[in-house]
Amino acid sequence: MPARSDGEWRLALPVAAFFALFFVAPLGVLFVVSLFAEPTMQTLALRQYTRFLGDRLHLGILVDTLVLGVKATLVCLLLGYPLAWVIARARPRVQSLLVFVVILPLLTSVVVRTFAWIVILGRQGILNKTLLAVGLIDEPVRLLFTEPGVVMVLAQVQLPLMILPLLTTFQRIDPHLADASAALGAGQWRTFARVIAPLSLPGVAAGCVLVYAACVTAFVTQTLIGGARLVWVPLFMYQQATGANDWPFAAAISIVFMFAVLFVVVLINAAGRGRRALVHG
């Protein structure tokens, strides 16, 4: 064994060099630039960080973005979890059809998927027309350029990222466990709550991490559905970087944002693992 894999890791060296040069070094530049006090980059100071974190308005944008991700992830979980369960239990032919239905949107351009929702959510859109026809509303509701609209679209656009890891987890759960639970007299809900749900937690955590990270950074969906008045971190950072040409500030925003997202991702992972330890212990 050692003789064979001996020195094999050296194959990765050119790739490592590429990543060091074009990924790690730029991130280093990002950090260094964030330490400059002014766009002309003369003096070093932590001013950009206090400017972002010390301002109610700026801090509000950060919090709004993190919360937006939580809302969209929860909607995604609500829709994705049952479908993943159905797919895992479906007959092979139905299963491959449903997997196809999940993967096609995943591979379709995000711009295209978001664009579809403009047609659906607009004042003259399908949703408004349907709700008017059914009589649930008297006049068109504003859905585009509102936060609930963005949450809905984000949840839809990222739904495949939730379903795929859940599907993998469900397929690994021994079907005999549910049968055993039923044989012991537990109903469907009880079996679900006591057997299936705890065992699926790693998949839930994996799906939530992917969806959350995708939702908070979804520049296209946030700008097209949210419009210009609803500003979340990606658009704000982009405006500072290109519109205002304030590189140090945009760099500091990027770094704070990266760590904030990383923090939430670690929290989600810890929640998934912590519960699993409880189940097995």
């Binding site: 490592a16 790690v24 159905v86 295209v112 998927r113």
Partner: protein, 271 residues
């Protein structure tokens, strides 16, 4: 008797809730694609669903949309270059880390996966600043490099998964029969992991073709890519040509996906 009824209610309510939510999920997954396709066939000049009359006029209008075509050509060019480079780099990277348990290999694994975890927008901005401070002007090369950074990890992931399923005994028998390392790689390893590499390359291609966060910073007027151009059309004047272009993209995605499924078993690689 009462017990029996309670059980039925339990079963029924479970089925209704799961059924309703998963049906909603399927509708929500399928509807946008169908709606874009139908909207793009409208005969009128406004985006409306259901469309007012059917026609291919907006698809014909694409033939005259020079800027859109140029952007599509640019995207295709960058995606092909980025995919080819990602396939080579990703395979090398995977070969280096997949079977080694050393600390270095673990560290490299984390390094190769991190572009997938970090917000790509931050990386795009960082790359813009790095190139500009290094005195490099934005070009095809800098755009392709940015795309390779976010696409190569996808190939690393699928190639590592393929290598993990490779039986080491095969490599040992090849070696004991006197084959050199390169010969073993060419005749044993590569054929066995080629589906994994191909699946990764397909995903990398789609990721590059659809990339916005990196292109937003690294492409300029000359290298404008399709998703950015479409984003601008939709944001500024919401032209029906955007629907027709979306329709073309959907059909294109569908074809690439069917090809990938045939050649590389794509749907199995994604799970």
């Amino acid at each position: 008797m009462a017990e029996r009824r309670r059980l039925d209610l339990d079963e029924l309510s479970f089925r209704v809730v799961v059924g309703a939510l998963s049906t909603a999920a399927v509708v929500v997954l399928v509807a946008p694609t169908v709606i874009v396709l139908l909207t793009s066939l409208t005969a009128s000049a406004s985006l409306r669903f259901p469309p007012d009359g059917l026609s291919f006029r907006w698809y014909r209008a694409l033939a005259g949309a020079g800027q859109l075509q140029r952007a599509a050509g640019n995207s295709l060019y960058v995606a092909v270059v980025a995919t080819a480079a990602s396939a080579v780099l990703g395979t090398l990277g995977a070969l280096g880390i997949a079977r080694s348990r050393s600390r270095w290999a673990r560290a490299l694994d984390a390094l190769f996966m991190s572009p997938l975890l970090l917000p790509a927008l931050a990386f795009g901005f960082a790359a813009l600043m790095a190139f500009s401070l290094a005195g490099l002007r934005l070009s095809w090369l800098t755009l392709a490099i940015g795309h390779i950074v976010v696409c190569a990890p996808i190939v690393v992931r699928t190639a590592v998964a393929a290598l993990a399923q490779l039986d080491p005994a095969l490599l040992e028998s090849s070696a004991s029969l006197g084959a050199g390392r390169l010969y073993t790689f060419r005749r044993v390893t590569l054929p066995l992991i080629s589906r994994g590499i191909a699946a990764g390359a397909f995903l990398a291609f789609m990721a590059s073709f659809d990339n916005v966060p990196v292109s937003l910073f690294l492409s300029d007027a000359r290298t404008e890519v399709l998703p950015i151009h479409l984003w601008q059309i939709i944001e500024t004047n919401l032209d029906v040509r955007a629907a027709a272009a979306s329709g073309v993209l959907i059909v294109f995605t569908l074809l690439v996906m069917l090809l990938a499924e045939r050649l590389a078993g794509l749907s199995r690689q994604l799970r």
